[in-house]
């Protein structure tokens, strides 16, 4: 076949797929390590999902409450994830986030300030102290722009030194990777197309960092953009890597519900962090009725106490509106089901009666505009209507916590950010993603660079693999008998939304798997009309197969896990089951089929488990684990007495 000779080829040391916070931070690190680095993104530079993050980045800097430190952050993260988190990732994240945020200031970031000139920090669900570094409600924009500008500054250095901006770090925007290429079990490169021209492009590189974000487009009601089709998850699977925790999806409690066309668009949690409360159609602050036992001690029991907390957090407990997201989303779901919802099928989120109009406009400027312009609602005067929306995938590529290297049988593949799994366990706390991107982006970029250094010989890209990739990519354009990709996407979204949604049941999950298998046949025959130049129908046709395999992982794992925990709620198994806490469900690909295996969770180190008190652990651990814990405490006590 002659096609391969006409494909544009590039050679890099490290190829980073994804230009969000994780990808950009990884690329900076690889370039700082002296590696020739490429950054690839489906959108224009600076438009990745990270740009949409609103609330903030969590880091225990202790600027607002000096009692905060990494141990407290670690505890909150583990609690939020219902102890299913990879403890080592949660530990690294809690320890390293402050440095990663401070570093952004040296790149030019301008966070909001405290009175004494430090980075201001705001309250957020599940965080014990004000912890989120923020810029109004556009923190993600600040983060991505800062990283983008840091990359420009590195390019300017290279321009001075080598005469070319692209000498050592180059951005390939509007370029989609469709396949990873292997040499045996080693990554050898990545193959994709330029959206603009439809021409193919081949990157030969020994190390690839996946930073492709999430999977939300498999749901109709989602805060995610067209980019979130699970590409990185699927690329990893096909390259022989494994995914964990795919049953855990975060449904953010507050998405817009009206008008229908904006259903799902996010209403930041900062509205609640800054004093907003949730009410049902009877005007009742219903969250007080939904505080689960495991959180009983940390949340206020009366409205008075909850309200006092905003000004005196040391002597009062926090309002239940600030419970972790899974709890709030389920509560809203129940209220609506019980007939106490708002006219458009959500509940009311009220900040108007709680803060002055000026303050609302100052602290939540983009929410103010979003409602004004999209829904004709003035949030300084009336409540918003909100309901759950598919927001974040906790599951992702199973990685080594320290290096971000993918598990499974592939080498040279790294993952960071939303596409990786483990860090957030069964439920992510708000604000923990932005800091996760920085901490693990840096790590993955650095380790990819040293992996490339350590190779004696460069893996080679096989010509037939490139030919196969070309064929797969062109197939939808060459078929005119199949269905429209848009129809298939709608059908997939219907299956996932109806059968693998926020509340799950065995029968429905089994049904979902049957339907996904049918969809698989149809997706294999999808047709796209038009040519190769900037053809969104074709692009979607290629994304579909990724969405499908990732959806299968979610449905399979959701059927398997017979308990409710974090972002996985089974109506038929409503309780959290300590035995299931010891299990990660791991997905791998065998040919075309998703294989599920159970894997024990790594055991927390003594000094980390020692940060919790027994009463709390008793809610999560099995009896044997508790006995181990008691032995540990007894040992420590004896050691003290010696």
């Amino acid at each position: 076949m002659t096609t391969t000779t006409r494909i544009e080829r590039h050679h890099y040391d490290v190829v980073v797929i994804g230009a969000g916070g994780a990808g950009l931070r990884a690329a900076i690190e690889a370039r700082l390590a002296g590696k020739k680095t490429a950054i690839i993104s489906k959108s224009l530079f600076g438009k990745a999902h990270t740009v949409m993050a609103e609330g903030g980045a969590a880091a225990a800097m202790g600027n607002v409450n000096s009692r905060d430190n990494w141990q407290v952050h670690f505890r909150d993260t583990m609690r939020g994830g219902k102890f299913l988190n990879n403890f080592r990732m949660a530990e690294l994240h809690a320890k390293e986030s402050p440095q990663r945020i401070w570093e952004l200031e040296t790149y030019g970031a301008l966070f909001d300030r405290t009175k004494d000139g430090k980075i201001s920090q705001r309250n957020f669900g599940g965080h014990e102290y004000p912890r989120l570094a923020h810029v109004g409600d556009r923190t993600g924009l600040e983060l991505i722009r800062t990283l983008q500008q840091k990359i420009v500054s590195l390019q300017q250095e290279d321009h001075r030194e080598h005469g070319s901006y692209d000498a050592r770090i180059k951005v390939f925007s509007e370029t989609t990777i469709t396949e990873l290429l292997l040499d045996g079990d080693r990554v050898a490169g990545a193959f994709g197309y330029y959206r603009e021209s439809g021409e193919f492009i081949l990157f030969e590189a020994p190390a690839v960092v996946l930073a492709t974000g999430g999977v939300g487009r498999s749901y109709k009601v989602t805060s995610n953009s067209w980019e979130y089709t699970g590409d990185g998850h699927a690329l990893a699977l096909r390259a022989g890597a494994t995914l964990i925790n795919m049953e855990f999806l975060q449904f953010h409690p507050t998405g817009m519900v009206w008008p229908p066309s904006v259903k799902g668009i996010l209403v930041t949690e900062s509205v609640r962090g800054d004093g907003g409360v949730l009410k049902n159609s009877e005007g009742k602050r219903f969250m007080f009725d939904y505080v689960p036992d495991v959180f009983r001690n940390q949340y206020a029991e009366t409205e008075e106490e909850a309200d006092r907390w905003y000004t005196d957090p040391d002597n009062n407990r926090r309002p239940p509106e600030l419970l972790p997201r899974d709890e709030v989303a389920r509560a809203i779901n129940s209220e609506v089901k019980a007939g106490r919802g708002s006219p458009a099928g959500g509940v009311f989120l009220d900040i108007a009666s709680r803060r002055s109009a000026d303050e609302i406009r100052r602290r939540l400027p983009s929410m103010y505009h979003q409602f004004k312009e999209l829904a004709d609602v003035d949030i300084t005067a009336e409540p918003m209507e909100v309901g759950p929306t598919c927001h974040y995938v906790m599951g992702g590529v199973e990685v080594d916590p320290d290096s971000g290297a993918a598990f499974g049988h592939v080498r040279g593949l790294f993952a960071a950010g939303e596409v990786s799994g483990g860090m957030h366990g069964s439920n992510r706390l708000g604000g923990n993603s932005l800091s996760d991107l920085l901490v693990f982006g840096k790590r993955a970029g650095g380790h990819a660079a040293s992996y490339a250094d350590g190779l004696a010989a460069r893996p080679k890209v096989a010509v037939d693999a490139v030919e196969a990739a070309v064929e797969t990519a062109l197939a939808p354009l060459q078929r005119d008998t199949g269905e429209s990709p848009y129809t298939l996407q709608q059908d997939l979204q219907a299956v996932m939304g109806d059968l693998v949604g926020i509340i799950r049941r065995e029968g429905e999950l089994a049904d979902a798997l049957v339907r996904l298998a049918e969809l698989r046949e149809r997706v294999a025959k999808v047709s796209a009309v038009g040519g190769r130049r900037y053809n969104p129908g074709w692009h979607l046709a290629l994304d579909l197969r990724n969405m499908l395999v990732v959806s299968e992982c979610t449905a399979k794992a959701a059927l398997e896990r017979q308990e409710s925990r974090g972002g996985h709620t089974r109506e038929d198994y409503p309780a959290m089951e300590p035995k299931w806490r010891q299990v990660n469900l791991v997905c791998a690909l065998d040919g075309d089929t998703v294989q599920l295996t159970r894997k024990p969770l790594p055991k927390m180190r003594p000094e980390l488990i020692g940060l919790f008190d027994r009463a709390e652990l008793a809610k999560y651990l099995t009896d044997e684990e508790l006995a181990d814990f008691d032995a540990l405490v007894a040992d420590a006590g004896e050691a003290d007495n010696r």
Binding site: S43, L44, F45, K47, H49, V51, M52, M61, Q99, W102, E103, E105, T106, Y107, G108, L110, F111, D112, R113, G117, K118, S120, V135, R138, L141, R145, Q149, V152, S153, Q155, Q156, E196, S225, W226, E227, W258, P259, P260, S261, V262, I265, L266, H369, Q370, E373, L374, A375, S484, Y486, T487, A528, V529, G530, G531, R533, Y534, N535, P536, G537, W538
Partner: protein, 316 residues
């Protein structure tokens, strides 16, 4: 609450194209981008357009709607009359790639040329101290979502390909201004750079950029005009320079404008509503029409331009 509405959408690529008519269903509360998505899912599966967030946060979905540069995700259908035809064309200042997608690489090139933040060498990470009032001025500019609508509307480059080399445009003037006002940036020549390298002198303060900015950044009043003011000797006296960084808020902004290329351009509203014309676009659109450079005359910004050619006579 759904009705059929008439849309005219420019379809084509760099070799040419024309407006095509579509009758399409529109439901309550929808924005122009929703309608485009519906067209993709029905009559026009390969209709090219950019979008990401659908909430005015990413700046991807810029296009010209009934001649006005807008974010299509923030343009509600209810802002048009019931029988009004909605005409959607690509940004005019940048070369078309396909349909509503243009080649905006000009902007990324200018971004790359603007000198980056220069951190203070002796302040360790974690030790940065700044007051909220001092960061607010720069924060206003950092709200920019890079929709490039201001770049698109600026008459200096809108129909003047020849000026693109020398002119960075309002987006990058505010980037320079943002760094100039950054309390800890150590470069002292941001203004001079804007004058000498970014072509700030081409700007005659028509304020069209400010008018289209979806983030409501006061590009001209807060960014461009302060950058045009020249404080003599500011650069050469380190003490004065330090003072200017810290106390600048207290100063009265100078409004008299002296630029390298133009004698003077006064930002008076008389200029805008009087001599300055908004009707910039030619009625028919052949190959790009070249007109005199803005620096030689009075600028025209098509904030409310006429429609693009409906004849399909080759789109640039």
């Amino acid at each position: 609450m759904s009705a059929k509405r008439q849309f005219r959408i420019w379809r084509g690529d760099e070799t040419g194209g024309d407006l095509q008519d579509y009758m399409v269903e529109v439901n309550e509360g929808e924005v122009v981008l929703d309608v485009i998505h519906r067209l993709q899912a029905t009559d026009a599966p390969d209709l090219a357009c950019r979008w990401n967030c659908k909430a005015g946060k990413c700046g991807s979905c810029s296009m010209e709607i009934n001649g006005k540069p807008r974010l299509s995700c923030m343009t509600r259908m209810s802002t048009f009359g019931d029988d009004e035809t909605v005409t959607v064309t690509p940004l005019r200042t940048f070369p078309v790639i396909r349909d509503l997608v243009t080649d905006v690489s000009f902007n990324y090139e200018k971004a790359r040329e603007t000198p980056a933040f220069a951190p203070p060498p002796d302040v360790a990470p974690g030790d940065y101290r700044m007051q909220q009032v001092d960061v607010e001025r720069s924060q206003e500019f950092r709200k920019c979502i890079e929709c490039f609508l201001c770049q698109n509307v600026c008459h200096v480059i809108r129909d003047h390909e020849e000026n693109k080399q020398a002119f960075s445009g309002p987006r990058y003037f505010i980037r320079a201004a943002e760094l100039d006002m950054h309390p800890l940036d150590t470069r002292t020549d941001r203004k001079e750079y804007a004058q000498a390298e970014q072509g700030l002198g081409f700007c005659n303060i028509t304020k069209c950029c400010t008018e289209v900015c979806p983030e409501h950044i006061k590009i001209t009043d807060n960014g461009i005009i302060p950058m045009k003011e020249r404080v003599v000797d500011r650069r050469y006296d380190p003490l004065v320079w330090l003072g200017s960084k810290i106390f600048r808020r207290g100063e009265t902004p100078q409004t008299s404008v002296t630029t390298a290329r133009q004698g003077s351009a006064t930002p008076s509203s008389a200029t805008r509503s009087g001599i300055h014309s908004h009707a910039g676009a030619p009625t028919t659109r052949g190959p790009r029409r070249r007109r005199r450079a803005a620096s030689t005359g009075i600028g025209r910004c098509p904030t409310r331009p006429r429609r693009r050619s409906t004849t399909g006579a080759g789109f640039r």
